[in-house]
């Protein structure tokens, strides 16, 4: 445990140091980077050695303010969720070395690094917190620091709006969490996590639902995902990479933690999680298809992946509830592994989108094109990330999904509700898989392939060195995990060791399974290489020419005739019309010689629309009547405070 705190300390120093030496821009960046890397390596080594040794969970307690105890505990679940924290954070920081390259903004960069370090440290603390107070503190710290990271470019109105939206969701979610914690406290009379299992069964369900909403708003479960597609595009790319790749997983961690603490094997929990997962997964990917803003699309795709992870957890819970051990095991293992994999490829994709944004100044897929030639490294790594996130072999995304599938299939022998749930999960996974493929062929095919659709895209050049380096590293690890999944799957299994409900399953079955997949993946790669060589041979001494694309008889094609992201996705989005309202603005053609006409279609978010219509608008309407309270006279404000204190003293 001491090593862990040492790592946190080093990370915090890495945050504070830039504030003092912000004048030397490059020195500041590299020193922060080095310290962060050192801290994360220390943390990672501690976590990995803890996971690989079957040691007891380590704990530490500190008294704080005399009344509270800050209590930390490192068990295998925490350790597993700490891996992405310590792995992705330094890489994203390395990426930012060439991403934040304006020396005139050195103070702001320093502040950014400070908040970044706080975020990393607080995420690590969230994962190890072992009582209510500690958890709440770390959770709030995480929300606040990430809020400041989001509003990095605070001059833009859009960014501020996104920041406020995020803030509201973070705090609203936290309120639900506190409600859940309050319920726990009122029944156990203790802040400690250890006694949570003692509360009565009917309260457990309520606690779980409250906590699920609270954690769900952080993780981005539909319909609480609204902040994601606003906050991610607004934040700088290294921040979106960490937020999307790592931070929203803390919501998942929370769900797993509260589930394991409650220790209840009720089927209702499983139903909640699995249904939320299916809705989140399918709608997330459909919205991702409908969005033409690259970072928005990636944000929605995070929503989708949270859905997949939830489906995995749900399958695991169904397995626990109905006593099918293999199902429970594979479900949780798949979800855990997907948490890890998603951290890798989602941060990779955000970095790729960031590089494109950095070099072209636009995030709109409809303005891009042909970047594969101009940014070869970015393009290739983005391609790898896209295959991985579509869950296709031989990349890492497939392994997690495969385990979830396998777990779900084990549940098909059940009757009644569990059977229906697992069947629907399998169908949802298949639909999500297909749509994700469509979504990321759109991203790769329209942004990186074809011809540039705008001046900016035509003039783009390759991103800076550290950006390339990080992307190549991540892309390589995507492929590596896909081909040699065994140690990583083992890691996920080790991570589940402290998930007591699941229990230990026979490792033989899935080790052979994973080996088989690995074998097939390498066989496939060999086959592809073989066919490529064959193809090479077929082209020996053949005439190979270059020419324009065949225009089907049309002789003067322009780049604007290419399919755009909107047209590519239109029919698919159309299919889900009732759930995906699209707004079309068309001025129409009226005269015989029509003048300028406009046509615009935009996919709207169902949740956003209805939350605005059903919650915000009435709320604003009623709260407006209370406006007189806020009049701007400071003396009266102080009066309010005095009144409040008096009232509190009297009644409590």
């Amino acid at each position: 445990m001491d090593t862990f705190f040492l790592a946190i300390g080093v990370i915090l120093v890495a945050g504070i140091l830039p504030l003092t030496i912000s004048r030397q821009f490059n020195l500041m960046k590299s020193s922060c980077l080095l310290l962060m890397a050192a801290g994360c390596v220390i943390g990672l080594s501690e976590v990995l050695s803890f996971l690989s040794n079957s040691g007891e969970a380590a704990a530490a307690n500190w008294a704080w303010l005399q009344i509270f105890t800050l209590s930390f505990k490192l068990d295998t679940i925490s350790a597993f969720f700490l891996i992405p924290v310590f792995l992705i954070s330094p890489l994203a920081l390395l990426y930012s070395f060439h991403y934040l390259e304006k020396p005139e903004q050195s103070t702001r960069t320093a502040l950014n690094y400070f908040c970044y370090a706080i975020l990393v440290a607080s995420m690590a603390l969230v994962a190890t917190a072992n009582n209510i107070v500690t958890f709440a503190l770390a959770w709030e710290l995480m929300s606040l620091s990430s809020f400041f990271l989001v509003v990095y470019e605070y001059q833009a109105k859009e960014t501020r709006r996104a920041g406020y939206l995020y803030f509201i969701f973070a705090q609203g979610g936290a309120m639900f969490l506190f409600a859940a914690f309050g319920l726990i406290y009122s029944h156990t009379g203790s802040f400690s996590f250890e006694q949570v299992a003692a509360i009565p069964e009917n309260i457990k369900l309520l606690v779980f639902i409250l906590a699920f909403i609270g954690f769900g708003s952080k993780a981005g479960i539909f319909p609480l995902h609204i902040w994601l597609p606003h906050a991610h595009p607004a934040a700088p790319s290294h921040v979106s990479a960490v937020m999307s790749g790592v931070m929203i997983k803390m919501g998942i961690y929370g769900i797993v933690r509260i589930y394991s603490l409650l220790g209840s094997v009720d089927m209702t929990f499983a139903v909640i999680v699995i249904v939320a997962g299916m809705i989140t997964g399918v709608l997330g990917v459909v919205y991702a298809l409908g969005k033409q803003d690259m970072k928005k699309m990636l944000a929605y795709s995070s929503v989708e992946n949270i859905g997949i992870i939830l489906m995995g957890l749900g399958i695991g819970m169904v397995g626990v509830a109905s006593g099918v051990k293999t199902m429970a095991f594979f479900g949780f293992a798949g979800a855990f592994l997907h948490v890890f994999n998603h951290a890798i490829f989602k941060s990779l994709l955000f970095m790729g989108a960031g590089a494109v944004l950095h070099k072209t100044g636009t995030r709109s897929i409809n303005q891009l094109g042909g970047l594969m030639k101009r940014m070869p490294t970015t393009g290739r790594s983005f391609l790898a990330g896209s295959i991985a996130i579509s869950g296709l072999p031989p990349f890492n995304g497939f392994i997690g999904e495969f385990l979830i599938y396998f777990g779900a299939f084990q549940g098909l022998g059940l009757h009644g509700l569990p059977f229906v749930l697992t069947t629907l999960t399998i169908i949802s996974l298949a639909v999500v898989g297909g749509l994700a493929t469509a979504c990321f062929t759109k991203a790769v095919g329209l942004a990186f392939l074809g011809e540039p659709r705008s001046e900016a895209a035509a003039k783009a050049d390759e991103a800076g060195f550290t950006m390339q380096l990080v992307m190549v590293l991540l892309a390589a690890s995507c492929l590596l995990i896909g081909i040699f999944p065994e140690p990583f799957v083992q890691l996920a299994f080790n991570g589940m060791r402290d998930l007591n409900l699941v229990g230990a399953a026979d490792p033989g079955l899935f080790l052979t399974l994973v080996r088989n997949i690995a074998m097939t993946a390498s066989l496939f790669l060999a086959l592809i290489i073989g066919i490529t060589l064959l193809r090479r041979m077929l082209y020996v001494r053949k005439q190979v020419e270059r020419g324009p694309t065949w225009g089907c008889g049309f002789t003067q094609p322009t780049v604007r005739m290419q399919y755009t992201g909107t047209s590519y996705a239109m029919s698919m989005v159309d299919f889900y019309r009732p759930f995906v309202p699209a707004k079309t603005v068309y001025s129409g053609i009226s005269k015989i010689f029509p003048g300028l006409t406009t046509y615009e279609t935009r996919v709207e978010d169902l949740a956003e629309k209805y939350i605005h219509r059903g919650l915000i608008r009435p709320l604003v309407k009623y709260l407006h009547k209370l406006r007189w309270i806020q009049h701007g006279k400071i003396q009266l404000y102080i009066g309010y405070i005095v009144l409040a204190i008096v009232a509190l003293l009297i009644f409590i």
Binding site: S390, F398, G434, T437, L449, L513, Q543, Y563, M572
Partner: protein, 305 residues
């Protein structure tokens, strides 16, 4: 050893069967039709040619044919062809195989988008759309098969203790599966009534328009991949139609290829009597296939309890 020979025969024979479709269509049209071996002739003709590449394309364009062919070959490696055990098999291989095929599609779509042609983009969008629907059907079929056989591998489906066949106890359900699988076959392999590769207008195509810019050996590889994919789906149906459990391997093989020819003939018949659907009716077609199998799955819930 037997498996490898069987696999080799399948690899060689796959281009023969599309010829059956052509013959069948010609027969119904009252024509003589091209020779049965026509696909071999075109294949070798294409191999001899050179290629023209579009200026817009990158390496992804060249990976399209390679990966789609590789994926189709992988699918056949895991399939019990002609009554022999597949070369490779493990629990869960079906999921892997359908994801492999999806990978092939990923690259075909990307290769099409790489040419910057509006027509190929259109084809790509349609292919992506229809395959998302067909994928759901396929996975419900897997759910049903798991319900029936308790296995997740092609080898187990058809040669395990309770082989899946129309002759078996759940025959009525499997009839539904066969119909819907046939519909998936038509969709995934771009046949009439989903897609008509033989029309004169690129606007109305799906798969054929995506590979417009491929030429020479590249095109040959794509065609070969398409033959294997069609072969895979047809073999899938064949096994459900008739279990291959005769003693001698050559009898198995003969029966297998006989039924295969019948299925290809059925494809040809469908193409002769139907016209291509309007594009907005295709989703309904695929959804019908989904409804059929989903329905069969629900029945397993009520009946086989």
């Amino acid at each position: 050893m037997e498996s490898i020979i069987s696999f080799g025969i399948a690899m060689l024979a796959a281009p023969l069967f599309p010829g059956v479709i052509l013959k069948m269509k010609a027969f119904w049209a009252g024509k003589k039709g091209p020779p049965l071996l026509i696909k071999y002739y075109t294949f070798f003709k294409l191999l001899k040619k050179g290629s023209v590449y579009s200026n817009s394309t990158t390496f992804v364009f060249k990976m399209g044919p390679t990966v789609s062919l590789g994926a189709a070959i992988m699918a056949l490696l895991f399939f019990p062809l002609g009554g022999t055990a597949p070369i490779l098999a493990f629990e869960g291989d079906v999921i892997l195989i359908f994801y492999m095929l999806a990978l092939g599609r990923f690259f075909t779509i990307c290769a099409a988008l790489d040419t910057a042609s509006p027509f190929e983009g259109m084809g790509a969008a349609r292919e992506a759309y229809y395959s998302t629907l067909a994928e759901a059907t396929v996975f419900v079929i897997l759910v049903l098969f798991y319900r029936l056989s308790g296995a997740l591998s092609f080898a187990e489906f058809f040669s395990g203790p309770a082989p899946i066949t129309v002759m078996g106890p759940a025959g009525a359900l499997l009839l539904l599966v066969i119909v819907s699988l046939f519909m998936v076959l038509l969709t995934e392999n771009s046949r009439v009534p989903v897609d008509d590769p033989a029309t004169h207008l690129e606007l109305t195509m799906i798969h054929e328009v995506m590979i417009l810019d491929h030429s020479g050996p590249d095109l040959a590889l794509i065609e070969l991949g398409a033959f294997y994919k069609l072969f895979f789906y047809a073999a899938f149906i064949t096994h459900i139609l008739h279990p291959l459990q005769y003693g001698a391997p050559w009898v198995n093989g003969l029966v297998f290829y006989g039924i295969m020819a019948l299925i290809y003939a059925a494809v040809g018949l469908t193409e002769s009597i139907m016209a291509r659907f309007r594009m907005n009716l295709v989703p309904k077609f695929i959804l019908t296939s989904f409804a059929l199998v989903f329905f069969a799955t629900i029945l397993t819930m009520g009946v086989i309890k």
